[in-house]
């Protein structure tokens, strides 16, 4: 293992999630597959997708599944019957009514308890817990959570392109497997296969396994733990077959080469610099046959 190839167990999220044009990670490589221009925009505008209700919930659910102890100390639930926050008028009133005083006092107590914590609605808190419970009660998925390190960062230098690379695994069990939890609408064989193809999860696997190899481990397995985000929160662990693995490696190699070339040239083009002659998809011609 060279000094640049590291496994870091305690890298702070804010350090890891810094985006750079000269650094390759799975999310950036997926952008690069779309076009270098999309990658550049993504890298230079991290605040565009820093927070959204879906992302916030995703983080909470990951925490509930992978680090239940941290979840308990990081998140606080806002009960359904919580009173509305006191208005400015209430807070500034010289002689607030009894009910106003109760509202103000309730929020003061709640805010005191919630200092430094993230607030989750009761519904989201319940959903995150039920998803985590579903995983813990699956006869195989539960085994994935036994042991291993959570939120592990890998940093290495790619042999082919020289690019600095990084990856952050949800769970890493040295010598055995990497695991990534994916919430999804359909965790079934067919449904999750579509998600893998659509969101290039196979590229992510190729990138992570490359990282782990550069860092001196030769684990074979990368397990996607798919969990449906709607009741009954069915979960299913998946391992990609050989063809899917190969597709991921090809996609990654293509994106890595493209990023290295753009970095060297300083040009980050869109789809093409040339006039494009447009062909229509095959299905468009079925309509023509039907009309005839």
């Amino acid at each position: 293992m060279t000094p640049t190839n590291l496994i870091i167990l305690d890298e702070a999220p804010e350090d890891y999630y810094v985006r750079r044009l000269d650094e390759a990670n799975a999310s950036g490589l997926k952008q690069m597959l779309r076009s270098p221009a999309h990658f550049k925009h993504w890298a230079e505008n991290p605040d565009d997708d820093k927070s959204s209700p879906a992302l916030d919930f995703g983080r909470a659910f990951h925490c509930a599944t992978l680090e239940p102890d941290v979840f308990a100390t990081t998140y606080v639930v806002l009960p359904d019957d919580a009173p509305q926050r006191p208005t400015v008028a209430m807070l500034n009133a010289a002689k607030p009514s009894d009910s106003s005083r109760e509202r103000i006092a309730w929020w003061e107590r709640f805010n005191a308890d919630a200092v430094g914590k993230l607030i989750l609605s009761a519904a989201d808190y319940d959903r995150a817990q039920r998803m985590a419970d579903s995983i813990r009660s699956h006869p195989v998925a539960a085994g994935l959570l036994v042991g291993g390190d959570r939120e592990v960062t890998f940093r290495w230098q790619d042999d082919d392109t020289g690019l600095a690379c990084k990856a952050r695994a949800d769970l890493y069990l040295p010598g055995e497997y990497l695991m990534d939890v994916k919430s999804c609408r359909d965790a079934s064989h067919e449904g999750f296969a579509r998600a893998v193809a659509s969101y290039s999860y196979d590229l992510q696997q190729a990138h992570y396994l490359s990282g782990i190899r550069h860092c001196g481990d030769s684990i074979r397995w990368f397990v996607f733990l798919a969990i449906e985000s709607e009741a009954p929160f069915v979960c299913q662990p998946h391992v990609l077959d050989v063809q899917a693995e190969q597709r991921g490696e090809s996609l990654r190699a293509k994106a890595m080469r493209r990023q290295a070339e753009c970095l060297q040239s300083g040009r980050w083009p869109g789809y093409s610099d040339q006039l494009n002659e447009l062909s229509l998809p095959a299905w468009a011609y079925y309509q023509l046959e039907d009309a005839a």
């Binding site: 239940p68 308990a72 100390t73 998140y75 606080v76 639930v77 806002l78 009960p79 019957d81 919580a82 009173p83 509305q84 208005t87 008028a89 209430m90 500034n92 009133a93 010289a94 002689k95 607030p96 009514s97 009894d98 009910s99 106003s100 109760e102 509202r103 309730w106 107590r109 709640f110 308890d113 808190y125 813990r136 699956h138 006869p139 195989v140 998925a141 539960a142 085994g143 994935l144 959570l145 036994v146 042991g147 497997y177 079934s188 064989h189 074979r220 397995w221 299913q236 662990p237 998946h238 391992v239 077959d241």
Partner: protein, 291 residues
């Protein structure tokens, strides 16, 4: 079954040979797919019919025979064993498949069966591998729910012997497709197609299963130690909603605009709709008074 295979010579051109053949095959296939007497997997499913036509072309059978004998089990195409035997018998290169059986009791551990046929060109005797109970048990074929190895072992021995023989001596006839009973045997007792397919993956699956079971018995996740911090601090109890009378009193007593607004904020907390209307009217009436 022999008659079906022999009486319908294969189409001379594969549906996938060229564009013209494909167009013709599409027309024929569309007609077949619209028939109600083809099996369900092929009804209104032109792609499946086209594949059956291609398979029929390759093995020299009629498309209808292929459709009746090529079944989809848990997403995998599979032959009926009797069709596979008929295809071998009808191909003309071998004498009809025959079976050597050792033992009288199909349930006895020593019972074994193999398939044999003679190559007509070389006169060579083609002998398939023995199928034995040791093999059946080691592969776990008899352990599946509803296994026919337990209810009709003699037939299963012959079917499996024929499948193995074909795979060795005439793989071009089975096209690498397993028989129906093989697919049922090798498909593990997992839900749908999520079953692990390689030995290494089966090992990982078993390891995780053991770990999960151990974790459940040794380290119950849902039972924190008594002195551990509670999973989530109890939030403060929400105050009771103000009654209509309390809001009415607050509206009446308000001396400033702020106090009136503050009381007005409480109106929405009153559950009774009629009371809310009345309180809103009072709020509207008092507003000009406190300005």
């Amino acid at each position: 079954m022999n008659m079906l295979v022999q009486q319908h010579p294969a189409p001379e051109v594969s549906p996938f040979n060229d564009g013209e053949a494909f167009k013709t095959a599409q027309r024929v296939g569309t007609a077949m797919a619209s028939s109600t007497i083809v099996p369900k997997d092929y009804q209104n499913n032109l792609p499946n019919v086209l594949i059956a036509m291609e398979v029929a072309h390759r093995i020299g059978a009629s498309p209808m025979a292929v459709m009746q004998s090529l079944h989809i089990i848990q997403g995998r195409p599979s032959w009926s064993a009797s069709f596979l035997i008929a295809t071998v018998n009808a191909c003309g290169r071998f004498s009809p498949l025959r079976f050597e059986v050792e033992g009288d009791d199909p349930e006895a551990d020593s019972y074994r069966v193999r398939a044999v046929a003679k190559d007509k060109d070389s006169d060579e005797q083609c002998v398939g591998p023995w199928i034995t109970w040791k093999m059946v048990k080691a592969e776990g074929w008899s352990k599946k729910n509803g296994s026919k190895w337990l209810t009709m072992p003699a037939l299963m021995f012959m079917y499996r012997a024929a499948a193995f023989w074909t795979r060795v001596y005439a793989p071009e006839l089975s096209l690498g497709i397993h028989t129906e009973d093989e697919v049922q045997d090798i498909t593990a007792n997992y839900v749908g197609s999520a079953a692990p397919k390689t030995a290494a993956l089966v090992d990982l699956n078993d390891t995780l299963r053991e770990r999960a079971a151990k974790a459940t018995t040794v380290e119950p996740v849902a039972e924190p130690a008594e002195d551990a911090a509670p999973a989530m601090p109890d939030p403060p109890k929400a105050p009771a909603a103000p009654s209509a009378q309390e809001v009415h009193d607050a509206l009446t007593k308000a001396k400033t605009s702020d106090e009136l607004d503050e009381a007005g904020d409480l109106i929405r907390s009153v559950p009774d709709e009629e009371a809310r209307k009345s309180l809103l009217a009072l709020y509207g009436k008092r507003k000009p008074e406190v300005k």
